[in-house]
């Protein structure tokens, strides 16, 4: 089957039931999306499918045939740049393992909502677990990124 991965068409030879996460990680060597739960409960594997956030661990590769998949390795544009810059500026990550999922989710949020409230942030980000509990800085970084995007 064929997918568009990070802007490039890719021919994928995999069992149709294989989760996108393991196609990305084991077959294609794109390891930015992480395995944390395997059940779409932690958000560490968040990618964008046709611009919407999706949990790669619970997405069959057959279900993304012909669609646009963007991973942390390929995410681009003004929102992505600003989110990643504020993440770095505020030293959000501790271990960093969940941060691909956090960053991908924050990019989605800010692409749809340029001035999110704390409640908007909670609603958009609650599915992404950070066991280091960097949530305090994640919230601050999203507000900061929103400010920069509005400027």
């Amino acid at each position: 089957m064929r997918i568009v991965l990070n802007g490039q068409p890719r021919e994928i030879d995999a069992d149709p039931d294989k989760p996108l996460l393991w196609v990305l990680r084991d077959d294609l060597g794109l390891t930015g999306a992480k395995f944390g739960c395997g059940q779409a409960l932690c958000g560490a594997c968040t990618v964008h499918i046709d611009g919407e956030p999706a949990r790669a661990c619970q997405t069959r590769i057959a279900d993304v045939a012909g669609r646009n998949v963007v991973t942390i390795e390929g995410v681009s544009g003004k929102v992505a740049e600003i989110v990643q810059a504020t993440w770095t500026k505020l030293d959000v990550p501790q271990c960093g393992y969940c941060q691909s999922g956090q960053v991908m989710s924050a990019i989605n949020l800010l692409s749809a909502n340029r001035k999110p409230t704390d409640q908007d942030i909670d609603a958009a980000m609650t599915g992404v677990i950070c066991r280091c509990n960097t949530y305090h800085r994640i919230r601050a970084a999203i507000h900061e990124a929103a400010k920069l995007l509005g400027a």
């Binding site: 069992d15 294989k18 989760p19 393991w22 990680r25 084991d26 077959d27 060597g29 390891t31 930015g32 999306a33 992480k34 395995f35 944390g36 739960c37 395997g38 059940q39 409960l41 932690c42 560490a44 991973t71 942390i72 390795e73 990643q84 993440w87 770095t88 030293d91 959000v92 990550p93 501790q94 271990c95 960093g96 393992y97 969940c98 941060q99 691909s100 960053v103 942030i121 909670d122 980000m125 609650t126 599915g127 992404v128 677990i129 950070c130 066991r131 280091c132 509990n133 960097t134 949530y135 305090h136 800085r137 994640i138 919230r139």
Partner: protein, 732 residues
Amino acid sequence: MNDHMFALGARAVAPSRRSFLIGATAAGASLLVGFSAEAAAPDGAAKTAVNPFAAYVKIAPDETVTIYSSQMDMGQGIYFGLATLVQEELDADWSKVTVVGAAGDPALYGNLTIGGAAQFTGGSTGTASSWTRYRQAGATARAMLVAAAAAKWGVPAGEITAQDGMLRHASGKSATYGAMAAAAATGQVPGKIGLKPAKDWKYIGNETLRRYDSRAKSTGRQDFTIDLRLPDMLTAIMIHPPRFGATLKSFDGSKAKAMKGVVDVVATPRGVAVVATGMWEAMRARDAVTIDWDESKAETRSSHEIAAAYRAAADKGAGDVAVNAGDVDAAFAKAAKVMEATYEFPYLAHAALEPINAVARMNADGTLEIWGGHQMPGIHQFVASKVAGIAPEKVALHVKKTGGGFGRRASTDADIIVEVVSIGKAIGWKAPVKLQWTREDDMRAGRYRPAFVHRMRAALDDKGNLVALRDSLVGQSISKGSAFEKMLVHGGVDALSVEGVSNQPYAIPNVRVDLTTVESPVTVLWWRSVGSTHTAYALETFIDEIAHAAGKDPIEYRLAMLKDKPRHAAVLRLAAEKAGWGSPAPQGRFRGVAVAESFHSYVAQVVELSVDKSGRPKVHRVVCAVDSGISVNPDQVRAQMEGGIGFGLGAILKSQLTLDRGRIVEGNFDGYDVSRIDDMPVVEVHMIKSEAAPSGVGEPGVPPIGPAVANAYFQATGKRVRMLPFSRKENS
């Protein structure tokens, strides 16, 4: 500063038998590993002149400066801390500084907080252990660079300056550190070297020096063990016994082996492994393996039965005595008022987001390489050598940064190493093997924060003064049966079971603490802040209750008993002041406070919460005051307090593991709930300015948050929550 740890390759050093006396005996299916801290203390490892260029700092001709870290970085930022310490004295070009994990020689990397007996990361000791050693390494390296330049230029060493990676002399002569490194590394190692006084520090305590790995971690470029890819590498998953204490009787892997991508199904001392070409292929075949377990010695009780047994033992209070000060019985006999409370704490999983893993490869030259979160490398190296049947010198460990840890990767039986090496051996080392646990493995295969019960009793005089305190604890020992037993268990009391209450800070004339240690096949381990995860909760909520009964303000009541504890009192006062204690809380919000010392650091927290119609607390704000001595990286102290607060908050509100006839019920984040962003309050961290040597910050943020929340919850509802977590149905 960059962090190309894998590209550079972490270095493995042959272990020194002289300083790491380690013994092993085969006990059933697993290895028991022991070392003796006393016997193994290296003869003055910190004092003798170690060539820093060989041990701690490598300066390459291309100017890159590589620092070898004795400490594993699981997110706490210790690589940044050690780099700061070296940099303070070395003054290299900061943009060229890299840190990699070192493993294998306790004479160089042994943790100095236990006399250097073994290398380990834990107990919030990373900075304390490194504080002198790594500054000394930087200073010695700098002196050797200067000496080499002086010899080459024929000028006095005292006339040479060394700064930002450049050596300079007034004559106009100059050289980079990289250019002078080869000559310096072979020079005389100075025996004694002075360190900069605090007033001259440029990097320690400097807020503008930022953590260096944030960019890689915000762009998906930080690699972890799970991301490692070696040529022809296979992926293995484990099938562990469903009940603790069960062992493998027999298995049939033939159906699984016939599945696409499955290479082998093999037995290990800890269960059955499915080996496949990839993770999904292995996971898919798991249910096709049929296994017969021997459960004759397995735990078969459920949580409520275990708790009932614990409560009965706590009521008896006949455990081993940890503290017996004054005359507790006499004080209770003449008390004006006696108070009692029983607290119950569940088993907790660490649930680090990167599930436990390791990668092993046997090379043609007979060396075994293992990549992973080697938090106790000496034990890992030794166990690997035993299981593989090779000399310890043949085992090379690559220390990877890990996706969290919280204590779980410092497993005293090296569980993941036993497994990965057993699997490699079972498949004849025909390919490198990555062993990757799933989330369910992580939650169900043990090594939990032990469940505990505390029965507390207080005697008050007619003025409301606390004249006697008793605490009877019941729970499993982390140290018993481990390499740490000799060091930590005395008179039947595991120091880790009672820490936080055995050294309680209040001036109470009569105190008795006793501990009933329970045996169970359920395996337990240190979990971020260890004993203080439960002792601080029991003590600090009980003190609050006593203060309330005495009609006193909880901060004033504590301060009156902390006259000889200035560091406790100072953080309590600072948190109170910054939180506006004494002024009314915002509409609908209620305040609570707690203070705790752990890992030689002092933390007080004031919580502001509200309670919704269903009785659920919502924490809005936490004001945290911390005294952890000198802050090497102030923003990392802040980050660890923020993280510790969120971590502890999720646990006391929502997390528990329960047993149903010996099986762990919760397997993933649906059943085992942890803090999420909507649980996270605003956190304000205030540091006490201190000249004391640095102490821990990774764990000390955790203990006060639970009791501070519980005390605020009491203000809001009049209810005392004594069975954790808050979400338990018994609390509604």
